[in-house]
């Protein structure tokens, strides 16, 4: 089963992204939005944990990056920047959506 995992909390403040990464299967998808976009930035104390999940498809919501002043070139290589339409498409394409609120 293909599952889309969504995370919206900062990994520096809450353990939601940690938990998500512990449960996501190879081939699964993780979408970071709202304060979770801080998990998608290069060169942070958290970045390696995301990079270590090589077999997971990562997405980050562009509108939330822009709101927080994070330019797209700061996003970890391999994470796809998506818009709201793609967010909906991902939810529709996957068999299930698990929200790590």
């Amino acid at each position: 089963m293909a599952t889309l995992h969504t995370v919206n909390k900062s990994p520096f403040e809450k353990s939601s992204l940690d938990s998500c990464l512990a449960y996501v299967k190879d081939g699964g998808s993780v979408l970071m939005y709202e304060d979770a976009i801080y998990g998608a930035i290069k060169g942070t104390a958290y970045a390696e944990k995301v990079a270590a999940k090589g077999n997971v498809n990562f997405f980050v919501l562009g509108a939330d990056l822009k709101a927080r002043g994070v330019s797209e070139d700061k996003v970890i290589d391999g994470i796809e920047i998506v818009d709201y339409a793609k967010f909906v498409a991902l939810a529709a394409e996957n068999d299930n959506v698990q929200a790590w609120v």
Binding site: Y38, D64, K66, A67, G69
Partner: protein, 136 residues
């Protein structure tokens, strides 16, 4: 009523937009500025994200309150302590933050930086000198 000036510190530990804490803090700081106290703001943990420059909230349809930080100097809120370790953990440097300044009336209105970069240990010492904390 005592006329003694107290040292007020507003502690900012949350990122902007995901929760209302950052904006609420800013509102309380502006209200509190009317009371002529010795005000300091601390930015630590995810609070350092509040000061990142280039915020543009058009696509998330929220109010971009980041320009308001630039007005703090006009309200005599001129001590914004930013913790170095919190910046580093988040891949940030001072260059990533908005330039925030104030005009020093005791120094011929010279323009000075409001942001003061401090270590975690220095932040602990500054906190230790305060009379009142407001936590956000």
């Amino acid at each position: 009523m005592s006329e003694q000036i107290k040292k007020f510190m507003y502690i900012n530990r949350r990122a902007p937009y995901g929760t209302i804490y950052a904006w609420e803090s800013l509102e309380v700081v502006l209200i509190g500025a009317a009371f002529d106290q010795d005000v300091s703001l601390a930015f630590m943990d995810d609070g350092v994200f509040q000061l990142v420059k280039g915020q543009d909230t058009a696509d998330v349809e929220m109010k971009n309150f980041s320009p308001t930080y630039k007005a703090l100097g006009d309200y005599d809120v001129t001590k914004l302590y930013v913790e170095k370790e919190s910046l580093e953990e988040r891949g940030l440097t001072l260059e990533d933050l908005m330039p925030l300044t104030y005009e020093d009336e005791d120094d011929d209105w010279a323009e000075k930086d409001s942001i003061r970069l401090v270590s975690r240990a220095e932040m602990a010492d500054i906190m230790d000198e305060q009379d009142v904390f407001f936590s956000f």
